[in-house]
């Protein structure tokens, strides 16, 4: 129509062939890729723990008590002669399930509450936020201990309680992000073209709070794993004989700390490593999913 009168500005630069997310992760964020790999490793180990574990979960061998790490028992054995590696692997299963499920539930709760509060504002916001305030008055651990003592320890109970606990507190963060997006010019533009609330939430609000949500999710996975370990340490976690990292630390790990430090080191290091891995992976993912960071990564933020 008007090509003749209007100068075309800019030229299409040759763009590199689009790479998959995994390729970009490895190339642009090696540390994040490492974190992802470690997390995946733990996940696979957890899922197939029964198959991978060299010894049975409660297979005792009184002749091989408190053995230091060796070729036969990579992480040594405990006071009952059980293989620590096998127990750490099966403990991973529990930690992973609790961590992932609790974090998923928490993120969902945060998004629902945060978006309702931040986007609709007004009276809805007032009601939800006063409820969140009231909830946040209680210290996390105290609330957990109280609830778990009432409903009794168990995996589902811990997932639900942790999910609600983190979810309600995290809704504040989502709310803040939503308010920023709601006041953005592009959200205003969408409203002025007649977009419905559903369209704005789906196309403008949710995609733009993803960085916050990803970080929220990954930090909550780590936190849930840690809290579950803490609860187990206090004897309120998933009840024995299921081997949990927290339980291993508090029970045999503490008692035999001087005789067999590997008893505490194995679950302790696993815990540290998996929480670290999920955090760096989350950070890398957040950066990669942001189109503004495309091609600019490595210049900004951690690799």
């Amino acid at each position: 129509m008007s090509e003749a009168t209007l100068p075309t500005i800019g030229t299409a630069s040759a763009r590199p062939a689009p790479k998959g997310l995994t390729g970009r992760l490895i190339q642009e964020k090696p540390l994040g890729a490492f974190g992802g790999a470690v997390f995946l490793l733990f996940l696979v180990c957890g899922l197939f723990a029964e198959l991978i574990a060299p010894y049975g979960l409660n297979e005792t061998n009184m002749a091989a008590r408190l053995l230091p790490p060796s070729a036969e028992h990579l992480f040594g054995t405990d006071h009952l002669g059980r293989d620590v590696l096998s127990r750490v692997l099966i403990g991973a299963q529990l930690s992973m399930i609790v961590g992932a499920c609790a974090a998923a539930l928490a993120t969902l709760v945060s998004i629902v509450l945060g978006v309702a509060s931040g986007y609709f504002g007004g009276r809805t916001d007032m009601l939800i936020q006063r409820f969140v305030d009231a909830w946040m008055i209680f210290p996390d651990l105290l609330l957990l201990i109280a609830v778990i003592s009432v409903v009794g320890p168990g995996m589902t109970e811990i997932v639900v309680v942790l999910g609600l606990l983190y979810g309600i507190a995290g809704s504040r963060i989502v709310r803040g992000a939503v308010i920023t997006i709601r006041e953005n010019a592009h959200t205003h533009a969408a409203r002025s073209m007649g977009a419905t609330a559903l369209h704005i939430l789906r196309r403008h609000v949710l995609p733009n709070i993803m960085p916050v949500v990803i970080v929220l999710f990954t930090t909550r996975v780590g936190a849930a794993i840690l809290t579950e370990a803490g609860l187990s340490f206090l004897g309120l976690g998933v009840p024995p004989p299921a081997p949990t990292w927290g339980g291993m630390l508090s029970g045999t790990g503490r008692t035999y700390m001087y005789l067999g430090p590997w008893l505490a080191l194995a679950p302790g290091l696993s815990l540290t490593l998996v929480v670290y891995a999920i955090n760096v992976y989350g950070d890398a993912l957040r950066d990669l999913l942001d189109p503004r960071m495309r091609g600019a990564s490595g210049l900004r933020g951690a690799r």
């Binding site: 500005i9 800019g10 205003h188 002025s192 073209m193 007649g194 942001d290």
Partner: protein, 339 residues
């Protein structure tokens, strides 16, 4: 210059009558009491014919953007009436308002904030079409987007990119393409070039003018840059503290400003000749803009006006016609003062 007087009423697209937008100021934590109002827009009237450009100028906070938002019905006016194509749209809501939105679109000031960073250019330009029920996969939809990209001078394969890959001027082209997607009759441009480099400003202004010619668009063009307004407008309205102090055809306004505020505003524009600039007499504006929460009685401009008289302090001047579509809200302006 003169429009055919016969069809002037028929071709009128927008009429704003005595528009007021007041924001209540409340006090009290539990029970909120209204203790006053910020009069962002206070009795503004103007009209806009099809194919015409009305420039609205004024300093920051004078209510020009609020006026635009009220016309766009992004907010509901406190009082006054807005007619679009003869229909009263002042209190329109729900589905009729959604239908109206197709017919008026906005180009935003901020070329960075007004484009969703997570959408591709193609989706940004097509968003209004999707919002109004186009199918994302239809050939018709894709063709329309290509057409729009052509129209604003962007390459078709740029549609696959994200906004952060573009310069400010290119982004503003994306914003213009988006505003044109629904073939609106009225386009409200809220300072569309003030965030751009001067060299790019001209390109975007020329693009807007070409598009107006080609598509018969009507513009409500808001700016604080007088030279930009002078270039693009047919008529210019000058706002001060929520009021429209003067409206006149461009030539009349720039050649013979009648309101003291307009005179001072025009005098503040530097002359591109150092010899003239250093010797010419510059009318100085006194003091600062009063708060719109507590505007001065009478003429809002009187505390800063070099010509203020007693009646200016007491009586609010009404807009009076000066002929040739010129209207001035000043006690001192008289039609015979023209020549």
């Amino acid at each position: 210059m003169a429009e055919p007087a016969t069809d002037s009423a028929a071709s009128e697209l927008l009429r704003v009558e005595d528009l007021c937008v007041h924001y209540p100021v409340t006090e009290g934590l539990v029970r909120q009491r209204e203790v006053g109002a910020v009069k962002a827009v206070d009795g503004v009237s103007f009209h806009l014919r099809r194919g015409e450009t009305l420039g609205l100028v004024g300093e920051s906070g004078c209510g020009k953007s609020t006026t635009a938002l009220a016309v766009l019905r992004m907010l509901t006016p406190t009082s006054g009436r807005i007619f679009f194509d003869g229909e009263d749209i002042t209190v329109l809501a729900g589905e009729p308002l959604r239908r109206l939105r197709r017919r008026m679109q906005m180009v935003y000031q901020d070329p960075f904030g007004s484009l969703n960073p997570r959408m591709r250019v193609r989706d940004l330009v097509g968003e209004p079409l999707i919002v109004h029920g186009a199918g994302r996969r239809s050939a018709e939809y894709r063709n329309r987007i290509n057409e729009l990209l052509d129209l604003v001078g962007l390459l078709r394969d740029m549609g696959e990119r994200y906004p952060h890959e573009f310069s400010g001027g290119q982004r503003q082209r994306i914003g213009i393409a988006r505003a044109l997607a629904l073939e609106p009759e009225l386009v409200i441009c809220d300072e569309p070039v003030s965030a751009l480099d001067v060299s790019i400003q001209a390109q975007v202004i020329n693009l807007l003018m070409d598009l107006q010619q080609e598509l018969g668009l009507t513009y409500l063009f808001i700016a604080h840059d007088l030279s930009v307004v002078r270039h693009i407008s047919d008529r210019v309205g000058v706002m001060y503290l929520g009021r429209l102090v003067e409206t006149a055809p461009k030539q009349t306004l720039f050649a013979k400003p009648r309101h003291p505020y307009t005179q001072i505003l025009l005098g503040a524009v530097p002359v591109p000749d150092p010899a003239v600039e250093s010797t010419r007499e510059q009318p100085m504006i006194l003091g600062e803009v009063p708060s719109p929460r507590n505007p001065p009685p009478g003429c809002a401009f009187h505390p800063r006006c070099p010509k203020a008289e007693d009646r200016c302090r007491e009586q609010r001047p009404r807009a009076q016609s000066m002929g040739q579509e010129a209207r001035v809200a000043c006690h001192l302006a008289t039609p015979q003062a023209r020549k």
